[in-house]
Structures are given as structure tokens and as C-alpha cells.
Subunit: 203 residues, 2 copies
DNA sequence: GTTAGATTCTAATTAGCGTTAGAATTAGTA
DNA sequence: TACTAATTCTAACGCTAATTAGAATCTAAC
């Protein structure tokens, strides 16, 4: 009955193995996809047996939900960090560069979590898809707002569809996780080249 | 012993059901992914039972190999068609627009085959991946050559890495298969906006 | 109408999956 | 040391997958 008093370190240990399992799961989901990854493999990567996972997670689906949640959360947080470095009245150009740097940094520096979001399009259960989509909505709205700003600042020229432009930019960024190798180019180089081209091109 | 004489229509019929099975397989692979699609589902879509597939294909892997081959072949052919419309000494700008139109048309008008190539990154068996990669190489080389032309024509400006530019363009194009809905925008609109931005941006 | 070949189906095999219940183990507390 | 709760393992369950061998059916020529 005195659980509240006796358990301090055990809680930390439990959280630690949970984290470990999530990390391994993210790693394998992002590389092999949801369906191609077995609980046995995930457990083995964490020096455990498949059955033991169920002490920490209710099901494979639940595991995937958490990975996806953390994934989108991580991208969103990284972008927010970049935005906070800007003055309050930042211009569209500054905003776009910050968004791009945040998004790319998240995707390329922590690919295990983030590419899970990107690569598992059709193969995850419906319920998981819906849950992930809701989380993603808020983040996408921030991008939409940025594009509106670009339109009112007249940096995105009149005849150009700013939502198409948004999809274009995000497509570029997301796809780089397919081919990016850390030794080829730095993320900052990428951001600069991408942003220069897009800003030049949309005027 | 006189098979050559007696079988004419039967051969056609066999080819027809093979084609049907390939089409259905491509459809389901592109929507659900390789691992999430069962032979039972593919067979059912062609009004057959799973076991009967083995009269036409040696295995599920073999089926996927053919789908991927046709997929990349189709993109390559569609681009070639667009190029043939150009004069022999076409400029980089004309070439880029033609490449983009061909690639996008293939991807968006026949998504069943083409998005199979795009979406099944990690989840297909190693042997299949290698086979697909070889076919893809030749097509990518054509893009590389185009970029070199852009550099020598000085349309891609000096300080810009033309291979990064290539990946950027292809990323945009490929990613559109993720969000594209036929009623939203026509492919020609897309091509125009994309090409304008990229050509403006790379100068 | 019979026969031979082409095509499909049936039913079984084998293997692996996610999941579960209960036993075994570990580690902290008294 | 003994007790207790937390954590992991074992061994099974039910299910579905890919694959296969042989039976069944269909088709077309003689």
C-alpha cells in the first residue's frame, strides 16, 4: 500500500527501458517499415524476448502510435526552436529559412523517429493513421500560415498558388531523407541552397 | 509435339491474365505496401485463388520484381516520349520542362505502377532491391546528363551544386504522388509552376 | 465424344506472427 | 534472511502467410 514511498529509482528504470524499446522500434520501423518489423526483432535489439514487450506496451499498434507521436512532436519542437531565435516580427524570408532549417535538422539528424512518419504511408492500421494525422494537422497549419504571410508580403508572386508552393517545399525537404548521407553535405549547406532557390524562384 | 501450330489464342489468353495479375498486384503494392499485401488479396482482385498465381509467377518476390521493372520502364518511356517532341538541339530549359512533364505524367496518371517504386523503400527483399536499383540507374543517368547541360549552358549558376539541384527537383516530383488528387490541379499546371520556380531559382 | 494440354482449384504443409497466462527471476525493503 | 513487488521469460494459442502437390475443370483439336 505504500507504493508511493518505496518506488523512486524503479520508476526511472522502467522509463529507461521504455525509452530504449521506443528507440529500437523507431529505428526498425523507419528502416524496414511497420509490417516488416516483428516484435521479436525489436525485443532482440533491446536484449529481451518478444513477450516482455507487453509489460511496457499494450500492443504493436500502441508502440507505433507512440513512435509516430514522438516523431511529429520532435519535428515540431525543432522548428519551434528555430523560430524562437528570430525577432518577433520576422519576415517571410527569415521564417521560411527557419522552418526549413528546423524541419531538415529534425529529419536528417534523427532519422529513426522522423522517417517513420514519412515512410509508413499505406501500411499502418487505420486507427494509427488517424491518430497520427491529427497530430500532424497542427504542424501543417503553421506552414500554411507562413505561406499566407509570404503572400501578403508579396514575396510569393501573385499568380503563384501558395499551397502548391508549400507542398513543393515540404516535398523537397521530406524526400532528402531518402538519399541523404551525413558525409556528403552539411545540413546548413542544404538549407542555404534550398532556400536560395525557392526564394529566388517564387518572386 | 506440334504445340507451335496449335496454340495461338491460348498464348494470348495466358498473357492477358498475367497482365491482369500484374495490374492488380501493382495496385495493391502501391497502396498497401509489399508486406501488407497478401497473394490471396491479389488473386481475389483477379477472381482467382492464391494458389493459382503460381502457374503464372514463381513467387511473390518474382511478382514484385516484374512490377518494379515495368514501373521504372514506364516512367522512362514517358519521359522519352516528351523528349522526342523536342528539336534535336533542345536547350536545358526545354529539356528540364520535358523531363518534368514526363516524370510527373507517369507518376500521377498511372500511380499504381509508379508509386510502387517510390513507396516500397525498405520493405522489399534485398534481392528485389538490387534488381530494381540496376534498372533505375540508367534513368537517373539521363537526369545527371541534363544537369550537366544546365551547368555548361550557364543556366544553373556557378555556385550551385547541380546534383543537389537534381535531387531537389526529383524530390518535389516524387513527393507529389503522396498528396496529389486528380481534381485539385492539372498535371500541366503543376509542371508549369514547378518548372517556373526551379528555372527562376537556379539562375 | 474422346483425348491431351492448359489452367485453376483444393487442401495440406510449414513457418512466422502478435498475443497471453503463468512461472521464473530479479531487486529492493524490512 | 524472508517477503514483496517489479520485471522478464517460457511455452503455448490462434491465426494467417507463402508455397506446393495433386485433383478437378476447362478448352480445343481430332
Amino acid at each position: 500500500m505504500n507504493q508511493k514511498v518505496t518506488q523512486i529509482k524503479p520508476v526511472l528504470k522502467k522509463a529507461k527501458t521504455r525509452k530504449l524499446l521506443l528507440d529500437k522500434a523507431a529505428q526498425m520501423f523507419s528502416r524496414q517499415g511497420y509490417q516488416s518489423t516483428s516484435l521479436k526483432e525489436i525485443a532482440a535489439a533491446a536484449d529481451m524476448k518478444a513477450g516482455s514487450l507487453y509489460y511496457h506496451f499494450a500492443s504493436k499498434e500502441a508502440l507505433m502510435v507512440e513512435v509516430l507521436d514522438q516523431s511529429i512532436q520532435f519535428i515540431s519542437d525543432t522548428v519551434a526552436e528555430e523560430i524562437e531565435k528570430l525577432p518577433d516580427d520576422y519576415s517571410f524570408e527569415m521564417g521560411l529559412r527557419a522552418f526549413m532549417r528546423g524541419h531538415l535538422t529534425a529529419i536528417l539528424e534523427h532519422p529513426d523517429y522522423t522517417t517513420t512518419t514519412i515512410r509508413n504511408n499505406g501500411q499502418i492500421p487505420k486507427a494509427v493513421q488517424i491518430s497520427a494525422h491529427k497530430k500532424r494537422e497542427h504542424y501543417e497549419q503553421q506552414w500554411r500560415n507562413l505561406m499566407t504571410q509570404g503572400k501578403t508580403e508579396n514575396v510569393i508572386r501573385e499568380e503563384l498558388d501558395e499551397q502548391l508552393f508549400r507542398l513543393m517545399v515540404l516535398g523537397c525537404l521530406n524526400w532528402s531523407s531518402v538519399w541523404y548521407k551525413p558525409n556528403a553535405a552539411t545540413i546548413d549547406d542544404l538549407v542555404k541552397q534550398y532556400a536560395d532557390i525557392f526564394l529566388n524562384g517564387c518572386r
